[in-house]
Each structure stands twice: as structure tokens, then as C-alpha cells.
Chain length 434, copies 2
């Protein structure tokens, strides 16, 4: 039985208890939210994971995507990337390989982590069709379902499935006109197939069969957002909102089956549109957890898109997005290497945390508050303890050691805190009253 | 005559013309805004600079702070930092040295740049008092004015002067209670002097004399914000707002003399309070340009405070702050080195630009829109041309060269844009209508 069906029947599962403990919330609250579909716990029944909750009122989670490409295919590097992502603070992984022995890569990654792992099964179907027949237009609809089932059996916890790239959304995209066009990889495979075969998207037509499979293995559906803009100038357009309407209907149908869902969102979008995007997603999809990709808030900073995306991530978390896919410095330029993965996770974690603090500083900011005290008392040991990446902080200070142990080289002997502690703080409370 | 007095008399100066051309705005608009004090052009009459406008309706500007400390004092490194900051896109510099031959460092930096340069003259007075008599409590009030005059003569374009650390604001700070206390270096010098001497702040008492000096050299006053919070948990408190009220009065008095002002703001502050801070500053200070320091939007990411601050900078720019002081990865840990300076400028420029795009994508986003077309047409030369840091982007792609020239190693041969260009875009506009 799926987590959601258990929740609907009033049962609090081990996974729900883990999430409740992790978030310092009541297990019954988690159960209620899972039953409604406001919280998802991606947790395939074929594989053991440490449960992670994604949704309303929870800490905003961060996903790190790994995977080979046709140009760079090195399993050891992917395992290293997975490890580095976890160490840096990723909550989940997505394994999106498109080069090499896809089954082996996926299974090896799954064996090496206790984190929930996501995938995009259409990639495998497209890659196999390209290798066999030269193009994704030759994909066999049966293979789409077979790969979903194979990956579900392997233990994938959440799957991005492109059901909403249908004739209706593509019609709206065609009428819309765009500068950047469609940029979703899964969307490009499906749409080329639809154009060539002049047929409806098989994943949309056969959505009930998709649900049969993911229900059996309790895979959480990550409703893929193929119409997301690939440029700020295309953001929040009719094609995207049309797809969101379809996604909302698909969420309803999944919930009827007790299948958990999260819904993917943009993309490239200026910061002033982020709140609107989250509000409309929450309405169209009846509070399904929202999974933002990036977002990218300016298009002209390639090499620094992790910083670009941290800005977007903060806005997302603040306005109620629940899950954020990281972006690395290699975005738009190359397949990320291990160091890119680390920088990407760090930047997105900072953004997610900054947004969470804006929601509730006391609840999410225990370390921030402790840091204030550690800084005020010039206690460097405690400052490192409460830092998100203590070793990195220590390395910077240690590289340029200060003359006085309790300061740093920024102000040296003229440390403002030291001077204030010595003078202003020692003055009487009413020293300035007259 | 100051820029502001010229503007009040209806004269459009060369500096105003430069700013107008730079911003693609009407020179008469710039003049009007300078006359009102809504735009400042820091441009000391003793030194030639390329004028930079800061204020309403202009591109958000970024300041990079350089300067020695007592622990690390290397003039060549400071010159290198200044050069790197300019190359990375800083609009102004602040020279805040507190170690070594301060006059020589300042004069050498001023000689080596055409950018507007700011300073905090109280640092020199405090450093000299500490060197001579062991503590900033021994500062001579006359020296405070003398150093302002000396630095004005040297050609400093804008000065952060701590006039608002007065008995009234310190009274409110004492009553407020805080976790992080007062963290402004200038504020720590002045407040310790006030406690020890049991007197009002000489810079507040002698504000008219300060105005005499800065008017003579047309130095723009950067009204220092000593009560800014040093921890998120202290943000936007009564001490800070009390100081803002005092700052507003000081802005009025400066404007009466035709002295340009900008007003400094926080600091450590959660993202949800940024809009409020800007709105209240604009009201209290009658639309004086707002200069945000950072802001830092979480306290627990030392080593990555440049990313933390980019998140804050984006919010600032979006809600109408006009000028942002960068933060480097070394913040809270060490004196920044050249590489830190570069990373700091880049992160803050990204934040400022993302905020500007949220105000007006068409006006500030010409390169963003061009990038959309360059990406869609897989034109890498143009992609680099429109990137903020082309060499960095090119280096990432070139390090992992793709098999196909028109793609990158992220997707390799399965480039979504390529597939969409080949199939979906070639389908008729009405292909999905039935």
C-alpha cells in the first residue's frame, strides 16, 4: 500500500514518523498532510531510504542532479558527485544519465545512497531509440511504460514523467510564440515524437497505466514541467499556465489512486514573478508540493548560475515552494563535475535556508540565533559549530591568521565587537537617558 | 559649486550628462533628480572621475570595499584588489584601510582609478589615537574634522560619516537589548569615545562644520548606519529606526546646503524585511538614495557570504535600493584577498542585475533578451558576448569540449534545443489544433 493510502486510512508509517522527528512536528500532522497530498514522502517500497518529507510547512528541500551525458560517461565520477552532493547537504538526488550503461549506473547509484533518488524514465527510452533507430521520434510507446516499470523495480523514489506535453499544451505553445522556445529535454523527446507520428503523447493517453505502475511500487510522481521558459523573456506565459492546468488534473487523478505527487515549476523567471508562480501552482494543483527548477533569475551570468539560482531559490522558499533543484556553475555550459556539484548544493541550500528564515526565523533559525551569540562573544569554536560548512569557514580564517586569537584579520586589533564589549556594553543602561 | 547647487540653479553639468548617457535617460531628468537629492553623483571637485549616478530610476550600483587591516598591510595587494574589482564590474570603490601609511595608501588608490572612491574618515582618527594614546576613546574631536578635510582635499568622492551615533540612538539601543549588539566599526569608535568622555558625538554636534567641509569639495555624504543589526535576530529594531529618523533630519540639513547625500542601511536582515526597510528609509529620508550593506540574509553561511549577500542584493535592487556594498567570501572571517574581491563583485553584480530585471526587463535586460536568441540559435560566440563574464563561461565549456560544436557536454548529442529546432519548431503553427 502506498504512503498516501496508508495515510488516508489513518495509519502513521515509519516514514511519517521519521519525517515528523526530522521536522519537529507531530506525526499525526504529517499523516494528515500526506493523506491530503500536501506533503509527499518519496519512498519506493523496493528499496530502503531515510525518509524525506517535501511539502507544506516543512523545511525546503534541495535536490542535486547527477548523471552522465553522451560526451562524458564515467560511473566513478557520478558516484563521487553523489557522495559530494550528500556531504554538502543535498536532501535528494536525481540520477539523469543519458550516456553509458544506464541500468548499471542507476542501480549502482541506488545501492550507494540512502537518500531518495529520482529519475526521468523517458531519457532511457529516448536514448535506446536513438541508439537503435537514430532518433527519439522512433520511441515505442510500450517502451516508455516498460522503462518506468524497470526503474520503479530498481527502487527509484520519484519520477519526472512528461504526461502534460499534450496536444493542448503544444497548441498553446505554438500560438504563444517564444524567444527561447521549449527547453525541456524530456519535452523535446516527446514533442518530436508527437510531431513525427502526429499522435497524442502516449504518457498522457496511457496515464492510467503509468499510475498502475507507480502505485505498485509507491513511486512519487514528479509532474514534469516541459513548458517552463528557457529565457526570462518567455516567463510565465500561456503555454506554461496551460500545462499547469493539465498538471492539476493529473494530480487529481493520481490522488484518487493514492499516488503521491509533486509538481515541477520553472525555470527562467524574473524574481518578481516567483510569488505569482507559486500561488498559481498551489491553486491549480490543490496544494501539491511544488518543485522549482532553479529558478534562473538572469540569463547573462553563465559560469555563475549557481549564484543566480540561489537568488531564485530564496524567493521560492519564502513564498512556499517546497523543493528546489540545484543549479551548478556549469549550467548552460557543460556537464557538472564534482566541484560544480558541491558549489551548486551549497548555493541552493543557502537560498532555501534564507527563504525558510523569512517564513519563521525562530523555527528555522536556531543556528542563526546561536551564531549571533557566538559572534558577540568572539567564540570561534562555536561560530564554526553553527556554520553550515564549518571547514570552509575555518580554512579562510586560518589561511590569514590574526595577531589576536579572538579576532580575525578583517578588522584586526580594531574589532568593532571587541571595542563595543569593552565600552558601550559596560555603560549603564540609562547612560544616555539625559 | 556642488553638483546639487548647480542642479538647483538649473545647470546641467558634464557629470549629469555622463550619467544621462550612461543610463539612457534625459539629462534634464538627471538634473531635476540631483536638485531634489533623489540622485547623487559623488564627484569630488579636486579629482577627475568618470561620473556615476546613484539613485531613483538608475541601474543599481555596486561598491567594492578594499583596504588594509592591522594584520595585513600590503599596498600592492590593495591596488590589485582595486583593479580586479573594477574589471569584475564594481561601479565605485571604498578605501577603508586601517593599517600602514593611511595617507599614502589613500592617495595611491585615488591616483590609480577613475571610479568614484569613498572613505570612512573616522577610521584614520581612531587609528591615530590608538597608535598615539592606546585607544579610540582618546580621539580629539578636532582631528575628526581635520581628517575629513584632509581626505576631501585628497579627492575622496563620498564619505561615510557617523553623525547619527548620538545620545538619542544609543539610548534606544540600550533599551532595545540585542543579541549581536552594535557591529559598526565607526560606531564602535564613536560610542566608546562617548561613553568614556560622557559627551555627545562631536560629529553630530559639529555637523555644520562637517557640512562646511564637504560642501567646499563637493563630497557626497554617505550617512553611516551604525545601528544596523549584526545578526538576523536583531534586524529592523527600534535602535535602527531611531537612527534612521536622525539620519533623515541630517539629510534635510545637508540638502539645505546643497550637499549631496546617500543613506546607508542594513546589514543582517531576513529577506522578508528588505522591502519594509527600503520603504521606511525612503520615507524618513525623503527619497535620498539608499546604500545597502550586503545585506546578509542568513548568519550561518560564513565562507559563502557573497552568495548570501547576492540574495539580499537582488531584493534590495528590486524594491528600490540604489547602491549596494558587496560582501566577499572572507566576510566575518578574514581580510579579503584579490580573488575574494572578484567573487564578491560578481555575486553582488548578479544580485543587483536580477533585481533591476524585476523592475524593468526590457530596459535593463537587453543582454538577457539577446542571450535568449543566442541560446535558441546555439550561437556560442553570441552567448559569450552577452555574458557578464565571458571568459569564465568560455573556460567552463572549453574545459569539457563537446563532440558536436553547437552543443555542450550537459546534454551532448541530446541537446533539447537542437531537437526542438529540428522537429517541434518545424511543425505548422496549427499542427496541434485538432
Amino acid at each position: 500500500m502506498t504512503q498516501m493510502l496508508e495515510a488516508m486510512r489513518g495509519n502513521i508509517t515509519e516514514a511519517m514518523k521519521t519525517v515528523a522527528a526530522d521536522e519537529k512536528l507531530d506525526p499525526e500532522y504529517i499523516r494528515k498532510m500526506v493523506a491530503k497530498g500536501y506533503i509527499a514522502i518519496p519512498d519506493n517500497n523496493q528499496r530502503e531510504t531515510v525518509a524525506v518529507g517535501i511539502g507544506e510547512n516543512l523545511r525546503t528541500k534541495v535536490n542535486a542532479t547527477i548523471g552522465t551525458s553522451t560526451d562524458i560517461n564515467d560511473l566513478d565520477m557520478e558516484l563521487e558527485k553523489a557522495k559530494i552532493a550528500e556531504e554538502a547537504g543535498a536532501d535528494t538526488l536525481m540520477e539523469l544519465s543519458i550516456g553509458g550503461d544506464l541500468d548499471n549506473i542507476r542501480r549502482t547509484v541506488l545501492k550507494n545512497t540512502k537518500k531518495p533518488v529520482g529519475s526521468v524514465p523517458i531519457y532511457q527510452t529516448a536514448v535506446e531509440a536513438i541508439e537503435k533507430d537514430g532518433s527519439a521520434i522512433n520511441m515505442d510507446p510500450d517502451d516508455m511504460l516498460k522503462n518506468i516499470e524497470k526503474q520503479a523495480k530498481d527502487g527509484i523514489d520519484f519520477m519526472a514523467i512528461h504526461c502534460s506535453v499534450n496536444r493542448e499544451t503544444l497548441k498553446r505553445l505554438k500560438r504563444q510564440g517564444r524567444n527561447g522556445g521549449l527547453v525541456s529535454r524530456g519535452g523535446s523527446f516527446i514533442s518530436s515524437w508527437m510531431v513525427h507520428n502526429d499522435c497524442e503523447n502516449p504518457l498522457y493517453e496511457n496515464y492510467d497505466q503509468v499510475l498502475d505502475i507507480v502505485e505498485e511500487y509507491d513511486v512519487c510522481l514528479s509532474m514534469a514541467n516541459a513548458m517552463r521558459a528557457g529565457a526570462l523573456t518567455d516567463s510565465t506565459d500561456r503555454a506554461q499556465i496551460q500545462e499547469l492546468i493539465v498538471l492539476g488534473e493529473l494530480v487529481d487523478r493520481a490522488r484518487e489512486r493514492g499516488v503521491q505527487t509533486i509538481v515541477e515549476g520553472p525555470g527562467h523567471i524574473p524574481i518578481n514573478e516567483i510569488e505569482t508562480n507559486i500561488n498559481i501552482q498551489k491553486k491549480m494543483c490543490k496544494n501539491a508540493p511544488f518543485y522549482m527548477l532553479g529558478p534562473i533569475v538572469t540569463d547573462i551570468a553563465p559560469a555563475y548560475d549557481h549564484i543566480v539560482s540561489a537568488i531564485g531559490a530564496a524567493q521560492c522558499a519564502r513564498y512556499g515552494a517546497n523543493f528546489i533543484c540545484y543549479v551548478t556553475p556549469a549550467e548552460h555550459l557543460a556537464l557538472p563535475g564534482p566541484e560544480d556539484v558541491r558549489e551548486g548544493v551549497i548555493a541552493t541550500r543557502i537560498g532555501a535556508h534564507a527563504g525558510d528564515l523569512a517564513i519563521d526565523l525562530e523555527r528555522f533559525g536556531e543556528d542563526d540565533i546561536a551564531m549571533a551569540h557566538a559572534r558577540k562573544s568572539l567564540n570561534w569554536t562555536e561560530q564554526y559549530e553553527h556554520a553550515m560548512w564549518p571547514a570552509d569557514a575555518k580554512a579562510i580564517r586560518d589561511k590569514r591568521p590574526p595577531e589576536a586569537d579572538d579576532t580575525c584579520t578583517m578588522c584586526g586589533n580594531y574589532c568593532a565587537i571587541k571595542i563595543v564589549n569593552q565600552w558601550l556594553d559596560k555603560a549603564d543602561k540609562d547612560a544616555f537617558d539625559n
